[in-house]
């Protein structure tokens, strides 16, 4: 019977380790492919006009270091600096929110990085608010040097 006890003990230890790791909030649990798929589906970036005409409930999250975004609607906006995104208080606010989470920051880089982090932590309805329109479109047309380009110049 002693040997059975040893097996049960070993099994219990493993079970405790596994369960504590499954419920550890400080871990990324989502598969990376989901981030790319969500990013390719274009609905996750909206402009300020679209925000005004939005019907669903949302929470506006200001990621700037010091708050810059004007609060049109103070009830559903909150200021969480990017450094504090993973603090327990911030995570509680984000988890208790029912609608969508709209990220805004003056620097586009901050909101993009925060979007990926939140997406991989399991939040499914995160949107980025763009100040300027269509940032990911090339604004300049390349003029090829027609002396070198022997083939036709039409695109």
């Amino acid at each position: 019977m002693k040997n059975v006890g040893f097996i049960l003990f070993l099994f219990a230890v493993m079970a405790v380790l596994v369960i504590s790791r499954i419920f550890n909030p400080n871990l990324f649990k989502r598969e990376t492919q989901a981030a790319i798929e969500n990013a390719l589906n274009t609905g996750f970036v909206i402009s300020e006009d679209q925000l005004k005409t939005k019907n669903n409930p949302y929470l506006l999250v200001d990621l700037n270091h010091t708050t810059v975004v004007s609060q049109d609607n103070p009830e559903n906006s909150v200021h969480i600096p990017f450094e504090k995104l993973l603090d327990k208080t911030s995570q509680d606010i984000l988890k208790n929110n029912n609608g969508e989470i709209v990220l805004v920051a003056t620097d586009n880089t901050t909101s993009s990085k925060a979007w990926v982090i939140l997406n991989q932590l399991g939040y499914k309805n995160v949107i980025i608010l763009e100040k300027k329109q269509n940032q990911e479109v090339l604004k300049y047309k390349f003029q090829p040097d027609t002396i070198i380009r022997l083939e036709s110049v039409q695109n």
């Binding site: 493993m14 380790l17 596994v18 790791r21």
Partner: protein
């Protein structure tokens, strides 16, 4: 050593030493299981001795369970582990050839080296035959290239093909293995050959 992330910064000599010790342990385990005897291996085919099945399946399952747990706790990066690319035709034909050789010779390559290390001459001839086969394969590569590289399916893993998570696949495999061991026990009782089993 390999993809275990906590100890990747080891100096190279320590890496190689660990590899050597693992290899020595493998040889030791094979020898003490009695695999240097070709009758034990042929017994797998005739049914009177199913040690090979049990040892290799247990080893595979322990490795599977161990690596899954290490991956789960972040110590091992399973995506770095090399998965053999799957060529359908080549695998089938290779399997048939190897199986036939296994039964005829009574050794597989690993156990052949074990037997050689204890001085068996038939193991020496077996390994020599194996190396000749590999040499012929390399020499005739241009002719058999299309067959060998046909129906390439990429590095497939069974759990991806089945569409289940790796943990569930592990459980299925363990249950299947236990059932196979039980059937193996029955077969040992049925196909018993006391004249051979008593000697090995």
């Amino acid at each position: 050593m390999g993809p275990i992330s906590v100890i990747t910064e080891l100096p190279e000599w320590l890496d190689l030493l660990i590899a050597f010790l693992i290899g020595a342990g493998f040889g030791f385990a094979l020898e003490q299981a009695g695999f240097s005897s070709s009758r034990k291996l042929a017994g797998m085919f005739y049914g009177y001795d199913t040690t090979v099945l049990k040892v290799f399946f247990t080893a595979a399952i322990v490795a599977l369970v161990g690596s899954q747990f290490l991956d789960f706790f972040g110590l091992l990066d399973l995506s770095l582990v090399f998965v053999n690319p799957y060529y359908v035709g080549a695998t089938l034909i290779g399997g048939v050839i190897m199986g036939a050789g296994f039964i005829m010779g009574g050794f597989c390559p690993g156990t052949g080296i074990c037997a050689l290390s204890i001085g068996k001459i038939d193991a020496l001839i077996f390994l020599f035959g194996g190396m000749t086969g590999a040499f012929l394969f390399a020499e005739s590569w241009p002719e058999i290239q299309t067959l060998a590289m046909g129906s390439y399916k990429g590095p497939m893993r069974v759990e991806e093909w089945m569409g289940v998570s790796p943990g569930i696949f592990t459980l299925i495999l363990i249950v299947a293995a236990v059932l196979m061991f039980w059937v193996a026990e029955l077969s040992e009782k049925k196909f018993t050959r006391p004249d051979i089993s008593s000697e090995i």
